[in-house]
Symmetry: C2
Subunit: 298 residues, 2 copies
């Protein structure tokens, strides 16, 4: 069990981690570092006064930290990793929650950083950002994908596995490349679609006399949920995995074109077969539903 945990980037995810640790590991001290200038007041207001705000990352040297969790948007990792490395402290392990993994691994290896690092990605989230929206239970029964960097000792990997398991997460091990491949399809492409659909709708909105939003229950609302995600976080994900995403978007566009071309009466039979086939896949997804209980907005 870790005793002194620093969370860098204290938003919805960071706050949910803190609240989960507070329930499962009551003796741990939790420290938070965030760009927010009113962090102390916000923690108090959210009944999280037990969490100790840090004014700078240098303070880490003065406390006996054994775990650092990076929870910022991905493009901030470069400067944060440099600061962590300069702490020259071999006692702590670093993990993160970033939604892309290959670029982070490359950053770590290219810079030849010396701190211990076990990358991870908890597959859990809601569309609301900010520490105020964090909650205990976000990670319950969810997957966490761990992407160990080559030559990392098993003991270190196990420490991070145990940590996430103590938050009731299920663990899956992948290479960073495999992770980015899977997530480009299950998460990044859906986000591209969601944003593009809202942009399509915005251009039509005028001619629709505001009826778009009123009648969004027919499918549209589902598809725009992820467009409510944190913009900065998603800009970083899009840029970090842009090549994979662009390739996949191309594949998706050709499926759209095929599907659209098939919409004619001559093709009625084939169309029905296609729809039945996709329904089967959807039914499998429902069966594989990860969480046993209802999570807001999920």
């Amino acid at each position: 069990m870790f005793k002194n945990i620093v969370i860098i980037g204290f938003g919805m995810i960071g706050s949910s981690i803190a609240q989960s640790v507070m329930k499962t590991n009551k003796t741990a001290s939790i420290y938070a570092f965030d760009k927010s200038t009113t962090l102390k007041q916000r923690l108090k207001k959210a009944n999280l006064s037990k969490i100790i705000p840090l004014k700078s990352l240098q303070e880490i040297s003065q406390i006996n930290v054994d775990l650092i969790i990076v929870c910022t948007p991905i493009l901030q990792y470069s400067s944060i990793f440099k600061k962590i490395d300069s702490l020259n402290n071999n006692k702590f392990i670093v993990t993160d929650v970033g939604s892309t993994k290959y670029n982070i691994e490359s950053l770590y290896l290219k810079n030849n950083f010396k701190f211990k690092f076990v990358p991870s990605h908890p597959i859990a989230g809601i569309e609301k950002s900010g520490l105020e929206n964090g909650f205990f239970g976000l990670f319950d029964n969810r997957y966490n994908i761990i992407c160990p960097i080559k030559n990392t000792p098993k003991s270190e990997i196990n420490k991070i596995i145990n940590f996430w398991q103590s938050l009731s997460m299920k663990i899956e091990i992948m290479t960073s490349k495999e992770h980015d491949h899977v997530l480009s399809l299950t998460s990044h492409l859906p986000h591209v679609i969601s944003y593009s659909l809202v942009l399509t709708a915005m251009k039509k909105e005028k001619s629709l006399n505001s009826k778009l939003i009123k009648f969004s229950a027919g499918g549209f609302r589902d598809f725009t949920r992820v467009a409510g995600s944190d913009p900065e976080m998603w800009r970083d994900i899009f840029l970090a995995n842009s090549k994979q995403i662009q390739k996949l978007t191309k594949n998706f566009i050709s499926e759209l074109k095929n599907f659209s071309n098939d919409l004619n009466v001559k093709n009625s039979k084939n169309l029905l077969i296609k729809l039945k086939k996709t329904k089967k896949v959807r039914d499998q997804i429902v069966k594989a539903r990860q969480a046993g209980k209802f999570i807001p907005n999920d």
Copy 2:
């Protein structure tokens, strides 16, 4: 209040209508006609024995029917309308629940049918089909779009409005063209996307070693919900509104291309602005959320 109601096509929607009428209009008799050969047994098993199964539409002549609700897939309307018209009965009003309206209006006008018809479209549904999945409450606080045909007496339109209102629905009046325009964006295009996304994923599934379904919480699951809809119903919708859908799919593809092209570091600032803008629209949709209470799969 209608006293003798016939529901043609007794699936999830028809069954939900019946169950809602049974609670709000206890003296009404409800008759069901369906292609299912085991309708009687299925009604009994679903505790819906009060509903009287009809063996043919001709039987309508023998009962004092005042309302007929067509709940079949759209491409069956043509033969059903012919049969209804042949009943030569001026006592009843016909309404429907079809997801496209212009083609149905045209069908009615071109054939010069004589029965009274007030088209409607309740915007409510779940991805499961079959009478066993119908439930009381599906329509609660949902919109119903009524698309009156030219020269229909107000008294007839009002009867249908009152009927849906008695099922706790909110009413919106539109022309059939306007309806199809709005729904092509809020519902038909999202369905095209959902099916195409599943098809894209199916081609990748092999290389992903079944990891796709396991990690579908990151957005993918939301997007595939509607791909679980009834295949026959959706084939008919796609074919009935194909031109609108194809046009809109084209618009959507150009947004996708733009968005994908924007994914490079040079464009970081613009990308963030775009994401913030779309988030705002999504936030409006959340505010406009129609139903006050949680509905399964919605």
